[in-house]
């Protein structure tokens, strides 16, 4: 065939579809793998060779049925031990939306994985085994979802086939869970009775539970409103990189590249560059596809300013009357992710948006017991998977917001200096939170 090909016809059936990030959690054997397998299978995302693979392995293992749970097995160690160790990402799409599932193992020791998966999620899917009802693990999962401020929580009450599709069982779990969740900061909870194994209420509505008139899981996933979960009010643009082409065509060009963290930036806006506090206006918003009038999350753009102010990586462009105050002290909830415990006088690197500084733990105020919600003020450290509240002193000012108002500018990670490992995930607390 002659020459490479491009195609003039574009945008034929590429209607815009939305990206939805889902984090799943459940205790071992609640049926999470089966559910995800079923979701992928019934929405026709499982391809023939993958299915043949699952059929073959199911037979080898003597499962006696096509074990859809095997679709989500990742690493060899996991297959050998029959458990999921790490966060795995799955993808599927429908005509309306594309989904990214962060599939996190549910064991207690893997709290850090759920936190990881939850950090970017629009929606949390927590499984409960109808026979067992709300157990400690379910509480932990709901707590983490609320801590990470995932806007929507779906509780899948699974294995309804094993409780005779009994409405009373479902109602009891709903009441139980809601009672607990009332203590948490969860705005939107939906309960769906299902059987992942038989497919009831996963993609298609169940014929076995006439008493339930809510949506199937897939219907819910396709319709839950997530666009307004973004913070479109507080303009925050962390500068990642300064673009200076220095060629003839763009001799004096100076642009500030970054991803809009929150709010809307528009050409002509009066802005302040933090931490210097210098004010100027937005002269232009550039992309290779042409200039924009406005930019909003999660777009990655390049901003030009009217005045020649000194701006570098780590600075933040905000609106004049709405910007964080640079601070060298933060109060935060920290989830610990390392086998080497957080020590109450430890020193770490802290990375917040595009800015890195040093942080000293000034005070470990308490350790949180996720099961009892009890605060242990006598705690002397945070071990792997433990959650606590700390006060940090910083070597350089950071431009922080409360996490509950702004996930992008309220979050940070702690990095151990000697190993370079990411050891902690932090969420900044407001003055009135305690």
């Amino acid at each position: 065939m002659a020459g490479p090909a491009t195609n003039g016809k574009v945008h034929v059936d590429s209607r815009p579809s939305e990206l939805v990030r889902v984090a799943t959690a459940g205790s071992v054997d609640d049926g999470k793998s089966t559910l995800i397998g079923r979701l992928l299978f019934d929405s026709k995302q499982i391809l023939q060779d993958q299915l043949e693979h699952v059929e073959r392995v199911s037979t080898e293992r003597g499962d006696g049925y096509v074990n859809l749970a095997l679709l989500t097995d990742g690493l060899r160690a996991e297959r050998e031990q029959g458990i999921t160790i790490d966060v795995a990402y799955r993808y599927f799409h429908t005509a309306k939306r594309k989904f990214i599932i962060a599939d996190t193992p549910g064991h207690e020791q893997y709290t850090r994985n759920m936190v990881t998966g939850a950090s970017t999620a629009d929606l949390a899917l927590v499984l409960v085994d109808a026979r067992n009802g709300v157990v400690e693990q379910s509480r932990r999962h709901a707590f983490i979802a609320s801590l990470l401020r995932i806007p929507h929580l779906v509780v899948a009450v699974n294995k309804m086939d094993l409780v005779d599709w009994d409405e009373a069982v479902f109602d009891r779990i709903v009441a139980d869970f809601s009672g607990w969740a009332a203590k948490l900061d969860i705005t939107d909870i939906t309960f769906i009775p299902m059987s992942a194994l038989m497919g009831d209420n996963v993609v298609d509505r169940s014929k076995n539970m006439d008493w339930y008139d809510g949506p199937s899981l897939l219907y819910y996933l396709e319709h839950v409103h997530i666009a307004s979960d973004r913070n479109l009010i507080d303009c925050r643009f962390p500068v990642q990189w300064v673009i200076r082409p220095m060629d003839d065509e763009h001799h004096d060009y100076r642009g500030y590249a970054g991803q809009v963290a929150s709010g809307v930036i528009a050409v002509g806006d009066e802005v302040v560059v933090q931490p210097s506090g210098r004010t100027t206006r937005i002269a232009g918003i550039d992309t290779q596809d042409g200039p924009l009038q406005e930019a909003y999350p999660p777009l990655s753009v390049t901003v030009r300013l009217e005045d020649d102010v000194d701006v570098s990586r780590g600075d933040m462009i905000c609106r004049v009357n709405n910007s964080p105050t640079p601070t060298k002290e933060v109060e935060a909830t920290v989830c610990w992710m390392s086998e080497r415990p957080l020590s109450p006088s430890g020193r770490y690197r802290i990375k917040h948006t595009t800015r890195t500084a040093l942080a000293k733990v000034d005070d470990l105020r308490y350790r949180f017991d996720v099961n009892s919600m009890h605060r242990d003020e006598s705690a002397t450290g945070l071990a792997l998977n433990e959650i606590g509240r700390v006060r940090l002193r910083l070597s350089a000012p950071l431009l922080v917001d409360e996490y509950r108002r702004n996930r992008a500018t309220g979050s940070f990670v702690l990095i151990e200096e000697s190993t370079n490992d990411t050891v902690g995930a932090g969420m900044i607390l407001g003055a009135d939170e305690d």
Binding site: L47, N113, A257, E294, D421, A425
Partner: protein, 304 residues
């Protein structure tokens, strides 16, 4: 003010995420390189690199790990794109590694240079002292990949330890490295094959002609169609024939299979991918058929 919804399509969201990743690497890592195979994923990667630093040129070189068994269409395409972009191209040659006696070539009708790429790649990374290499791998490709981080660290030997991965939270990436380490960075981690094709179509990106339907002389082996080429010996009983095919992946000619297809335009390809019932690796890559954990094993050794 008019009411605006500030809608962002999934492709734009994926694009923004990838651009953010590339800029973080540029800002935090000393020497980065973009791995370019001429395949569809690296074509998208290249476009994202252009976008991330526009109107400046992207601040890294491009590297092709050359098995010496390339599709000529792909080499021609590679060289032309580099010239258009004014990019610096480094070729890491498997042939040279063989000639230098660093690796021994497999022999026989099923010989492939796939695994040998790892040596050429690691050598080039060491020689140029690259601290980061962008790759076009996606998590939907394969089961071991599904668990790999976007910033994926490699030890002194180029090896990957899936159990010692750093947690990746929000969009905050930790690029701090220990001496001797380097990282692979996968900006397309969250893209699927369909996303890649939709993006290529939306952006009107040029792809090598072998991705679209063309007549080719092929033979069938293990249920796959291979191109007749100087790099593959026929086994007894294998017959060649000519048919309309296209490629779903671009790799070494010796281990990349074609699919029968009449999809001649990008629209046709998108439609075909949307309807396909077989994964690209299952359908067209002999390298992933070795064993249950073929990819995981190669990754542990330092593969892409």
């Amino acid at each position: 003010m008019t009411a605006v919804s500030y809608e962002v399509s999934h492709l734009r969201a994926l694009e923004a995420e990838a651009i953010h990743v590339m800029r973080e690497v540029a800002a935090e890592v000393e020497r980065a390189v973009l791995l370019f195979s001429g395949g569809k994923d690296s074509i998208v990667l290249l476009r994202l690199a252009e976008k991330a630093f526009y109107p400046a040129k992207f601040p890294f070189a491009v590297m092709h790990v050359d098995t010496g068994h390339n599709f000529p269409e792909v080499l021609e395409f590679r060289d032309r794109r580099m010239e258009e972009l004014g990019a610096r191209l480094i070729v890491a040659s498997v042939q040279e590694a063989i000639d230098a006696g660093k690796v021994v070539e497999e022999t026989g009708p099923r010989a492939s240079r796939n695994r040998l790429q790892t040596v050429a790649l690691l050598d080039a990374i060491t020689k140029h002292d690259f601290k980061a290499a962008f790759g076009g791998a996606r998590r939907d490709e394969e089961r071991a990949r599904a668990k790999e981080r976007i910033f994926s660290f490699r030890d002194d030997f180029g090896g990957w330890d899936p159990k010692a991965q750093r947690p990746e939270l929000w969009n905050i990436y930790n690029a701090h490295m220990n001496p001797g380490e380097h990282m692979r960075v996968f900006p397309l981690s969250n893209w699927t094959e369909l996303d890649v094709w939709q993006y290529i179509r939306e952006e009107e990106l040029e792809v090598p002609a072998i991705y679209l339907s063309h007549e080719r002389e092929v033979f069938e082996r293990d249920g796959m169609l291979y191109a007749v080429s100087p790099y593959v010996e026929l086994l007894p009983g294998e017959k060649t024939f000519t048919t309309a095919v296209r490629y779903r992946t671009v790799g070494d000619m010796s281990c990349t299979g074609a699919v029968q297809s009449t999809a001649a335009t990008l629209d046709d390809v998108v439609a075909e991918i949307a309807a396909t019932r077989i994964t690209e690796r299952g359908e067209t890559r002999a390298d992933d058929r070795f064993s249950e954990a073929a990819m995981e094993d190669r990754k542990r050794e330092g593969y892409f």
